[in-house]
Symmetry: C2
Subunit: 425 residues, 2 copies
Amino acid sequence: MTSDTQALAPEKLVRAIAEKARAASRRLACVEPKVKDTALLAMAEACESRKAELARANALDLEAAKAADLPAAMMDRLALTDKRIKDMVESLRKVVLLDDPVGEIWDARVRPNGLTVARMRVPIGVIAIIYESRPNVTSDAAALCVKSGNAVILRGGKEAIHSNRMIAEIMAEAGQKTGLPEGSIQLIPTTDRAAVTALLKLSEWVDLVIPRGGRSLIETVVKESTIPVIKHYDGNCYIYVDERADFDMALNIILNAKTQRPGVCNAMETLLLHDSIVDTFLRRVVEALRAKGVEVRGSARCRATVPDLVPATEDDWRTEYLDLILAVGAVGSLDEAIEFINQYGSHHTDAIVTEDHSHAMAFLRAVDSSCVLVNASTRFSDGGEFGMGCEIGISTDKLHARGPMGLRELTTSKFVVFGAGQVRS
Amino acid sequence: MTSDTQALAPEKLVRAIAEKARAASRRLACVEPKVKDTALLAMAEACESRKAELARANALDLEAAKAADLPAAMMDRLALTDKRIKDMVESLRKVVLLDDPVGEIWDARVRPNGLTVARMRVPIGVIAIIYESRPNVTSDAAALCVKSGNAVILRGGKEAIHSNRMIAEIMAEAGQKTGLPEGSIQLIPTTDRAAVTALLKLSEWVDLVIPRGGRSLIETVVKESTIPVIKHYDGNCYIYVDERADFDMALNIILNAKTQRPGVCNAMETLLLHDSIVDTFLRRVVEALRAKGVEVRGSARCRATVPDLVPATEDDWRTEYLDLILAVGAVGSLDEAIEFINQYGSHHTDAIVTEDHSHAMAFLRAVDSSCVLVNASTRFSDGGEFGMGCEIGISTDKLHARGPMGLRELTTSKFVVFGAGQVRS
């Protein structure tokens, strides 16, 4: 982040950053919990005491955004208000309170030859986070990586480059002063796209890439990367209301999942009703949703009962609206509901409302999603709500981490073996 | 595997196989343990009762290999002798005895709002295994995938195509007859390279690719695949003998790790001695190794003590000999040993011999390898030796699975949430 690294060609620049991160990661893996916590507290304090600098850097981004005529919603995401800086600082302090996952030994067993074989939780190593506009991702991601013993390479959106550089600088400085290895937190200081392309080939120094942003960002990363990627795709979440359900409970869950915060990935997008309850329950659902301003789109079966629904097309079953729109369909059985969700859903979060125990258990087992709920709103699919503390995202991948990713998901394990001179015969 | 699928273009062929595997995987995920075990036993029996057919198919491969003048070692790997068929059948029966990992619920916690949040172990889905010459990989891999509830797509080496087709056919048939979904076990019936290239793009239907074979096979798969890959790279294993060590124990471990089976990935390739023990211990080591036919290559420091060692070059520290050759170097401290191993080793399996507890613990923590041992031979790094039952390989990756991969590593998890009508406020 000094002027001489900025002057390098993007390939050389990221190579230098990645090598430095690898060296830092080896030392960071062995740093005591107390040192990491002291560093995180120092970072929080530094963000607070240097908030005037943060605001000035952010003003540069906001000016550029205004000049480029960026949409108001984007301007809003970019702005580091006093309140947001305070929240950022609070988040850093919250990470300190989480348990340090590194060094945990579990699954120990004594073998017949007397060897003790166990697993030890260790950091992954070097993690690259590639994200879009919100500058608070910079501090959140850096804090979670440091706490879990990983060196982090940050690459934010170009709109936030001044803010991100300042946040990373403040955190890296505070970390180094309190004993973290140099290179533990680095931000790619250029907005050159070639830097990302080059970074994604450095599998010798970078162990994991986490892209956070829209589908096209993630797809580009997957295509270009030779480093393992953990993906956070959309949430096209379903709720299925079973034949035997508590309808008051179902209605309450439906309203919450659709309207409490419609613009997020764990909001419900499609509702499936068992065929036998369409005639008795659908109108009540539609009226309650409409009272909250929701547009309801229905299948032919649903429109036979509530004729003034907007017709739903095949596309609707696949769409993440992130808006006050809901698609409603009917299914003839639990199995049909499961098949429908596995086919059209996005394998993120789905729920069943039922009073039938074996239906609940079958749904939990068969729906192929990162989070499956019985009799609760999909909105609970969240690291904080699950008691995992802060999360770095919600993985829609099946490997390594699935669902909300907390500190533990930023670690890996090794086998450790305690012997007394054993040899193999 | 019928003649009409063989007539398809490779892209269409693998697409049809992958779609069928996905459909099978959804049903297989919910199959009772007893059904899977019955199927595995039926497969073992079928391999036994149809061993004449197996031998005939194998004879075709052996003839082709002879005509192509393949090296004797490869011919040997290819041959399905009576003994090997018996071992294959035994392996299938052993998988039956392993615990079924699917459906396990763990890490359950009750949240303040009364929700119970837990994790459930579920199959990954569809796993493609791409491997080289040994036909027994076909049966081993298929059995482990079925037991863990995954549909499997097998792609063996072209030299073994007749044997592999016959094994897969026997197993798939026996499985279907005993209740496994059709498509649970499929082998790509063509040897066309284009089939693999096409398969590696089918991330919608295939969840994981495991290449088993040499470095160039693995690297090609990583480069071409948009599906997550778990890699099993070489084992350039180190042993470090510390200043305070039991030298009889160290010598015994060194001899075992180098000579008990030199051609495998967990054999030792490099020995590091603390500088202070070179003069007293090295000659004894060299003489014992030479008595076993080992060529010892030494650093300048080692040659100062034992002048007739073959000089070791920088390359030697990075080489997996898989042969009766050993490189020996000296280091000035524990930290130097750790740094050396992290720099030149392959992050597979490394060991320390020491009587110093804090050195042992520091080594375990800091050496960045999938398996780290104290006072034991590197040869123990193995799923069977660790009590994991059969293994599908030893992952040198850090994500998802690291070290020996057993049944549990062929599963993933989902979050399951048990509510009573909770909504988010």
